[in-house]
Symmetry: C2
Subunit: 480 residues, 2 copies
Amino acid sequence: MSDDLNFHMTPEAFRQAGKEMVDWIADYYESVEEKPVIANVRPGEIRATLPTNPPQKGEPFSQIQKDIDQLILPGITNWQSPNFFAYFPSNTSFPSILGEMLSAGLGVQGMVWKTSPACTELETHVMDWLVHMLGLPEFFLSSSDGGGVIQDTASSAVLCAMLAARERITHNQANKQGVPPHLVAYTSTQAHSSVQKAARIAGIGDENIRLIDVDDAFAMRPEALLEAINSDKSQGKTPFFVSVTTGTTSSMAMDPIEQVGQVLSSEIWLHVDAAMAGSAAVCPEFRDMHNGIERADSYCFNPHKWLLTNFDCSCLFVKDRDALIRSLSILPEYLRTPENEAGAIDYRDWQIPLGRRFRALKLWFVIRHYGIEGLQTHIRQHIELAKHFEEWVSDSNEFVLVAPRSLNTVCFAHRKGNAVTESILQKVNESGKLYASHTVLNGTFTIRMVVGQRTTERRHIQAAWDLFESAALEIAPNGY
Amino acid sequence: MSDDLNFHMTPEAFRQAGKEMVDWIADYYESVEEKPVIANVRPGEIRATLPTNPPQKGEPFSQIQKDIDQLILPGITNWQSPNFFAYFPSNTSFPSILGEMLSAGLGVQGMVWKTSPACTELETHVMDWLVHMLGLPEFFLSSSDGGGVIQDTASSAVLCAMLAARERITHNQANKQGVPPHLVAYTSTQAHSSVQKAARIAGIGDENIRLIDVDDAFAMRPEALLEAINSDKSQGKTPFFVSVTTGTTSSMAMDPIEQVGQVLSSEIWLHVDAAMAGSAAVCPEFRDMHNGIERADSYCFNPHKWLLTNFDCSCLFVKDRDALIRSLSILPEYLRTPENEAGAIDYRDWQIPLGRRFRALKLWFVIRHYGIEGLQTHIRQHIELAKHFEEWVSDSNEFVLVAPRSLNTVCFAHRKGNAVTESILQKVNESGKLYASHTVLNGTFTIRMVVGQRTTERRHIQAAWDLFESAALEIAPNGY
């Protein structure tokens, strides 16, 4: 055997290809506004352009670079376009991309403290920063009994919270014997599907999750929650977990954490899912959505949605970290370390997977590049833009608000009903000039306009509104 | 409100900082061999160098760059050092880093086909490539009833497989009603802790997972499995899931898939966890470890361990994709798309989280850069190196093999017993010249020497062996 390693890319070749990739990315951002937002392809079209078989021999990187433009870009829906208003923003920023580059370059795996102390400690540190930046309770700080951890998504975060709650209420017997049939979880009809998915995964089951009724603003009704809890209790069930949503996926509705907390006895775990809206709490004027957060056992928000940090980066905070760790820790011999036994944080015990990337880097870069003030400006600009859009809808003869605007989200529909609204959305999306998605609120097919991309300016939302108006005129020419 | 976006990093500034980051990464790889492999810090030391509070105003990126070297690097355990022999390799390569850069730059979120068709279709395509590259059964191809999906880790993969099995055996009643108490899962005493963790998460529980005895080579004994299954059946239990390991974490032992398959009735889901060893199947001469794979319902291996692809990238293949999707799919209105209803793949239904990064890019880059032959050479070189090390242990008067060498993993101990072996390992690791980790096999404290880093050459393992020998001479000077 020879030690011939020359089939690997050399550092010199990487320097060249890497710098070309940096330019490619910068070029992409400088031109993404002109690209159709939604990929204009049919299912199977991208695959049809790819060779059936993997190459027997390696190919030059220049060929791969060419194929990015020719084969991949046509199939990209441009999330980072200033005209992307669909789903939730999932924005990013150049400092965050640099953080991802460094994380990929270092290639460390931070499953336990010892496998890269900086990976663990920087994460703990920025999570503590975020507690202060969002005005969250101090019991979420690592210096208290709680602490924060970066998860991939809010789906995994709510699953971890539910597992911690399951083990707390069963005194860790569910981990030992399986899940008893009497546990019941609660969330609202407007909650994200991930809560129900978590209940399935955790062995609770659809029949043991109650979707609580909401009010006119699509926020959970605390009295309906109390009623459901009492009804379950009277039937011998054990309410153990409530997930409230600060900014629902459909309409950015805010469940009243305080009033919900008031109807809960202390053994019930309260999880606050602020995946979408939480980032807005960097501005003190938007923190009222967190009123009552002192009752929460866990809290989650996603910097990868609205805080200029690449997907994936979902921040989960727990009040009692031991409750989380007890529910997720298994310590085989090959993972024992003296530092762990002396109390160093091993984040593998705070999550579903074992391994983990160095995701704190991108968050650290973002916070340092922007500073608190930069992040505040970013949030305020988006909310101002959404206010303009809301005004245009309010003043319109064709469209109507389906829900009150909340932060950066405007939910609206055409006055002539679902079929017209759906046609308008389809026409606008097919133009390639923007991408908005829909939901159904109280039976009304609703267009969701979410202002969240880094480069979105007033001219983009103005153009979006013009598009909706002209599509309305074309599809329903008689107006109101 | 002004549309002043100049608090964001400009594309020009990103071009500069990005190219400097590329050079930093190349420099890192050119110097990593000289760095201590294990970070020489105590818990809390890195945090103590970081400012208590986040910055109010943004900072120049040049300051952040400086802090990478001064504050972060001292806390890095250098996984990508050629002298890293601990845990599993978790290697990477320049093409993979370029793939991560592009994924971060594009910033797409591929939860459903429509949100970036190329993200879904390239993933399906490279997963099909891998079926051919590893010589796996054709029922894992997307053109059959099965298919492949990239997960974050093998922990999540085995959880998904177990959930699919749970729903298949209960006819989807566990998702509806919760988990019945009679389900039992099986794996070996040497299996990765993730199987037990999955059983806890999925509501099966420790008392309903059987850790089956192993033979002298630490491989599962099929007759012991059969005995356990029969015993459970006779007590009214329902065996539903078996996870065999192709390359255990402790000693790279190979459970006999074929013989295990022969004792299983068809309703029991067979999962093959080849997280560590699977990559070796790119070489036909190592595929005998997969003998009997035709009986498997699911199979997982991690390109992020040994196939030059950045963490995270774990490939899960299932024989019946509908079984997986039925167990994980919830379709709220805001995620409905016509393409999904027409049968396009929405990978969100193949995994625990909802969102997903464009991880297929790095895998595509790696396969194309190396070609099948390059990846084969890479695997063969590592196994040759491990063979040399094995010979040195065999010929030694001080050390003894604790398990047969398997692929790239050599398990050895000092003849004078656990205390001496442990002292030797500690001394060698503290030198900073290499990092090896340990396990306990049949009560023997065992050093694991895993050859898996991209740049490891013969001179590195020679130096490693010299280090172990001189530490042995110092700690147990009288030899054998």
